[in-house]
């Protein structure tokens, strides 16, 4: 059955496309409860984008939470095993959104790859992130960072761990002036960090600069190996190296990335490697994944200009006559509102009137 754009919203269509895409790469659907025990999130509060959680007391007295995050639930419900477990989901989460600073229901789709995550898995997840963005809009950018590179620079400069939070915030904001002030305050040579914060661009342009800047660095070598696979693909021109894509190193390590599409003011896709979260909860497995914030995609589509193609006004005709007229119009592909009087605030291209069993157009625009 072909469904037109008037029936399927842009967001719904994106959901179907993404499900099909993830299924094609062997990711299986994962369905979960709307609620989780609050305890799970309290123990891993810093992993969440926002630490505000909607809670309620269940009938058995347990404090429950409306899921603010999907990854934690998937990780909690999986077990260490041989090989990799690949899942995708399409769920609503409830948290304070960065843009509105208020609680929102946020529809997410995404994938998680958990287990023996090797470099192919890392590449595959990045490729699926790129393909997800490609399926949403023609003009898109995937900003990619590697926390291993940032950590290597911080360790080489002997940056005290107590300052990591402030340094990471400055890197995340591309805030060179405050990073420089921090370095001066703690007697750190800020040159390399400064270059890391300002570097932004295509991997082919940025990676050689980083090689000169950092010399031997295993994390950089991994970034180079994975980026090399994208050379010559249709995705290559959309990738950018950007170290401001930074996440809490208590949970994340390795690759982190954020995707943008033209027309939406903030990232619509966010993901990374979170081996450190797995260690924190006593797991040996590695893990990588991403989420697509589907609710943000609404902004890509212009609001519908009308409610129907036409309004069919009827009078004292019997049910069968009205029904026949409606069927005739819908069979021609029109969207029809049948009513005795013009519905208030209703917009349609045409107004039709039923007169002696015949449909007559009385106005061109309502």
């Amino acid at each position: 059955m072909n469904l037109s754009q008037t029936v399927i919203s842009g967001v719904e269509s994106a959901v179907f496309t993404l499900r099909e895409l993830y299924g094609r790469y062997g990711y299986t659907p994962y369905k979960m409860n709307k609620f989780e025990e609050y305890d799970l999130y309290v123990r891993n509060k810093d992993f969440l984008i926002s630490d505000s959680i909607i809670t309620f007391t269940d009938t058995n007295g347990k404090l429950m939470a409306l899921k603010p995050d999907v990854t934690l639930s998937i990780v909690k419900n999986s077990r260490d095993s041989e090989g990799v477990q690949k899942v995708y989901y399409n769920e609503n989460v409830y948290r304070v959104s960065e843009g509105t600073h208020a609680f929102r229901e946020i529809m997410q789709a995404g994938i998680e790859c958990i287990g023996d995550v090797d470099e192919y898995c890392l590449y595959e997840v990045l490729k699926l992130a790129a393909e997800s963005l490609q399926s949403i809009a023609a003009d898109w950018v995937l900003n990619i960072s590697h926390l291993g590179v940032v950590s290597a620079v911080l360790e080489a400069l002997s940056v005290p761990e107590a300052v990591y939070g402030d340094v990471f915030r400055a890197i995340g904001e591309k805030n060179l002036h405050e990073l420089t002030a921090l370095c001066n305050q703690y007697g750190i040579d800020g040159e390399k960090l400064g270059q890391l914060i300002t570097v932004y661009g295509a991997p082919s342009a940025v990676l050689p600069q980083l090689r000169v800047l950092l010399g031997e660095c295993e994390a950089l070598a991994q970034l180079e190996r994975v980026m090399a696979v994208f050379v010559g693909t249709p995705f290559e021109s959309h990738l950018r190296i950007d170290f401001s894509v930074i996440s809490n190193t208590k949970y994340y390590n390795g690759f982190t990335f954020k995707g943008f599409v033209q027309g939406v003011p903030d990232s619509v896709l966010s993901g990374g490697q979170y081996d450190n979260l797995m260690r924190k909860i006593g797991r040996r497995d590695g893990a990588v994944g991403f989420a697509v914030y589907l609710d943000m995609l609404e902004q890509l589509h212009a609001p519908m200009s009308d409610d129907a193609d036409g309004i069919l006004l009827y009078g004292d005709e019997d049910i069968a006559t009205v029904s026949r007229a409606v069927e005739t119009l819908t069979a021609e592909g029109a969207r029809v509102i049948a009513a005795r009087v013009l519905p208030p605030k209703c917009r349609a291209k045409h107004i039709w009137k039923l007169e002696q069993g015949e449909v007559k157009r009385v106005e061109n625009d309502a």
Partner: protein
């Protein structure tokens, strides 16, 4: 059609100084200097469009992507914590966020400190960082009279020259953070209009270095 760089400028004297810097950076838009009530000005040839907005709203325009870049005070960025890039300290509009009170004020740690302010988050974060229990009183203006009338013990507010405080018999007891105007950018705008934003950043940085 040429891609336009949308710039939110803060209305007022600071905004005019900022525009002069943008103009010098090669992003001129002569119509902005015409004396009229228009709020949007563009120069298609240079690919730039300016809006005059209330200074406290600049960060919102940028965060929501209506503007690609803008200039906002650090006070606004600290208070609202918008999800934007903070690219440059323009070294303009310099002042400080401070705790002020009557000259003879002495903080009694046995009592909850009453703090009047417009900057609720900055005040809360500052007192949390030093472990002081406070009662925040949110005011929208004339903050200086709060300690005089006994409404609060102290105020947290922006201090530029200190004249208003002095005229109301208040003095600065602590400086919380220095404030100045910052160039901010929308995160998606930075990705899609990177060349224009990087050029602007480079040119403005060169001007601030000369100024320093």
């Amino acid at each position: 059609m040429k891609t336009m760089l949308n710039v939110a400028l803060p209305k007022g004297r600071l905004g005019e100084k900022v525009y002069a810097m943008f103009e010098k950076a090669g992003f001129e838009c002569p119509s902005i200097r015409e004396n009229n009530r228009k709020l949007i000005f563009e120069n298609e040839e240079k690919g730039v469009r300016y809006f005059w907005v209330k200074p406290s709203d600049v960060a919102i325009y940028v965060e929501r992507g209506a503007a690609d870049v803008g200039v906002a005070g650090k006070d606004i960025l600290l208070e609202y914590q918008p999800a934007v890039y903070e690219l440059l300290d323009l070294n303009l509009g310099k002042c400080r966020m401070a705790v002020a009170a009557k000259a003879d004020f002495r903080d009694d740690p046995r009592r909850t400190l009453k703090v009047a302010t417009k900057f609720v988050n900055i005040a809360r974060n500052y007192y949390t960082s030093i472990g002081r229990d406070i009662d925040i009183i949110r005011l929208n203006g004339s903050i200086e009279i709060a300690p005089i009338l006994g409404l609060s013990d102290v105020i947290v507010d922006i201090v530029e020259t200190g004249t208003t405080l002095k005229e109301n018999n208040l003095v600065v007891h602590e400086t919380i953070v220095p404030i100045s105007a910052r160039l901010i950018a929308n995160r998606a705008g930075f990705a899609f209009k990177n060349e224009a934003i990087e050029t602007l950043l480079r040119e403005l940085a060169a001007q601030t270095e000369v100024a320093v």
